[in-house]
C-alpha cells in the first residue's frame, strides 16, 4: 500500500513541476498566480499522502492551513489587480 502511495506522491510532484514551468515562464502575473495555486493544491495533496505514509497526523493540520491561506493569497492578489485597473481615488484628507 505504501509503495502505491509513494508512487502517487511522485505523480503529484511531477504535476507540481509542470505548474512550476508556468510560474517561471509566465507570461502574465495572473498566469503565475494561478500556477502558484496549482502548486499549492499539488503540495496539499502530496502533504496529505505523506502524512498517511509516515503516520504524521499534524500533516492534516498543515494541509488545512495551507489550503485556507493559499485561497487568501489568491484573494489578495485579485484585489490588488483590481485596484491597479481602477486607480486610487485620492485619499480624503479634510483638515483636522
Amino acid at each position: 500500500m505504501n509503495e502505491f502511495l509513494t508512487v502517487m506522491v511522485g505523480l503529484i510532484l511531477a504535476l507540481l513541476a509542470l505548474g512550476l514551468v508556468r510560474v517561471l515562464r509566465g507570461p502574465g502575473d495572473a498566469d503565475r498566480m494561478m500556477a502558484a495555486q496549482l502548486i499549492g493544491t499539488c503540495g496539499i495533496a502530496a502533504l496529505l499522502i505523506i502524512g498517511v505514509i509516515g503516520d504524521i497526523s499534524a500533516a492534516i493540520d498543515v494541509a488545512l492551513v495551507l489550503a485556507l491561506l493559499a485561497t487568501f493569497a489568491a484573494a489578495a492578489f485579485a484585489e490588488c489587480a483590481r485596484r491597479a485597473q481602477q486607480p486610487d481615488t485620492p485619499p480624503e484628507t479634510e483638515g483636522p
Binding site: 498566480m33 503540495g43 504524521i56 481602477q86
Partner: protein, 315 residues
C-alpha cells in the same frame, strides 16, 4: 526503497529553483508570486523533515500573510518602478556588492562548518523537564515556559512595528482609518469567498491555538489565520477597517503584552522569578496568556497589512 530519497531530492531541487528564480526575477510582482509558491513548497519540506510545527508556521506566515503583505507592497511600488529601475548600479558598484555578498556567505559557511560535533543542544534538558508545565507539546513548552521572555519581547516588537507603520500617516489622517478597499461586486466571487471562508477559518484558527498544548500548533499561527480571515472580509468590502484611534482597538492591541507582563510580575511576587508560573496552575496560566496573545497578534497583523491611516477620523 530508492524512490523515497529520489522524491526528496526532487522536492529539494524544485525549492532551490523557485528560490533562485524569486531572487533574480526582475519584476517585483512575479517575484512575489515566486515567494508564495516557495512558501508552499517549504511547508512540504518541513513536514518531510519531521518538523510539523515549523511547517505550520511557514504555511501560515511565510506563504499566506507575508505573501499578501508583499503583493500589496508590489502593487504600491509598481507606480514608481519605471523610475527606480532606471537607476542601475555601475560596474564598480556591482563588483563591490558581489564581493560583500560572497564574504557574508563565506563567513556563514565557515561558522556552520566549525560547529562542534555534536552541536551544543539544550533539547535533552527541555525534554527531561517537559512534565513541569503539564503541556504535551515540547515546542509550546519551550516557547511559553522555558523561553517565555523571548516570546513576550516578540509581542512587544509586533506592536512597535505597527506603531512604525502608523507613524507614516499624514497629519490630517492621524487616528483615522487605513485606506478603503474598492467596493467589490456584491454578486462576485470575492464577496462569496468572504462569506464562506471566515467561519471555517475562525474555527481553524482557534483549533490551532487549542491543540498547541499537546500537538503542533500555536497562538501565532492561529492568530495569522484569524487575521487573514478578517482581511478577506475587509477586501470584499463587507466591513470597514476600524479607526486606529479607537479605544477598544488600542486595548486589544496591548492585551497580549499586558497579560504577559502581569503574569511575569506576578511570578516575581509569588515564585521569586520573573515569568515563573505557579507549579499546579502552569497550564491554565499559559492558556490565558495565549488567548490574550491571539487577539493581539491577529489585530496587529491585520492592521499591518491594512497599512497606515489615510482617511481622517470622523468628527
Amino acid at each position: 526503497m530508492t524512490i523515497v530519497p529520489a522524491l526528496d531530492l526532487f522536492v529539494a531541487g524544485v525549492v532551490l529553483i523557485v528560490a533562485v528564480w524569486t531572487v533574480v526575477a526582475r519584476d517585483s510582482s512575479s517575484a512575489v508570486v515566486g515567494f508564495v509558491a516557495y512558501g508552499l513548497l517549504l511547508a512540504l519540506v518541513w513536514v518531510r523533515l519531521g518538523a510539523p510545527d515549523v511547517a505550520l508556521t511557514e504555511a501560515a506566515i511565510g506563504s499566506g500573510l507575508t505573501g499578501a503583505l508583499l503583493i500589496g507592497a508590489a502593487a504600491r511600488l509598481r507606480a514608481g518602478e519605471s523610475s527606480t529601475s532606471a537607476e542601475h548600479l555601475g560596474g564598480v558598484g556591482r563588483t563591490l556588492v558581489a564581493a560583500l555578498a560572497t564574504i557574508v556567505a563565506a563567513a556563514i559557511a565557515v561558522a556552520l562548518l566549525s560547529l562542534p560535533d555534536p552541536a551544543p543542544s539544550l533539547a535533552p534538558e527541555a525534554a527531561a523537564n517537559a512534565g513541569a508545565t503539564g503541556l504535551g507539546n515540547p515546542i509550546t513548552n519551550v516557547l511559553m515556559a522555558f523561553r517565555a521572555m523571548d516570546t513576550m519581547l516578540e509581542k512587544f516588537v509586533l506592536v512597535i512595528a505597527l506603531v512604525g507603520v502608523w507613524s507614516l500617516a499624514p497629519d490630517g489622517a492621524w487616528g483615522g482609518r487605513p485606506r478603503s478597499y474598492h467596493r467589490a461586486d456584491p454578486e462576485g466571487a470575492l464577496v462569496f469567498l468572504a462569506r464562506v471562508l471566515p467561519p471555517l477559518g475562525v474555527v481553524l484558527g482557534i483549533y490551532v491555538l487549542w491543540v498547541s498544548a499537546d500537538h503542533p500548533g500555536g497562538a501565532f499561527q492561529g492568530a495569522t489565520i484569524l487575521a487573514a480571515m478578517w482581511l478577506v472580509v475587509l477586501m470584499a468590502g463587507l466591513g470597514d477597517v476600524p479607526e486606529v484611534g479607537r479605544q477598544q482597538l488600542r486595548l486589544m492591541l496591548v492585551a497580549g503584552p499586558v497579560v504577559f507582563l502581569i503574569v511575569g510580575l506576578g511570578g516575581l511576587l509569588l515564585g521569586g522569578a520573573f515569568l515563573s508560573y505557579p507549579q499546579d496552575w502552569a497550564k491554565p496560566v499559559i492558556l490565558a496568556i495565549e488567548f490574550a496573545m491571539i487577539l493581539t497578534v491577529a489585530a496587529t497583523l491585520a492592521l499591518l497589512v491594512a497599512g497606515p491611516p489615510e482617511r481622517s477620523a470622523e468628527p
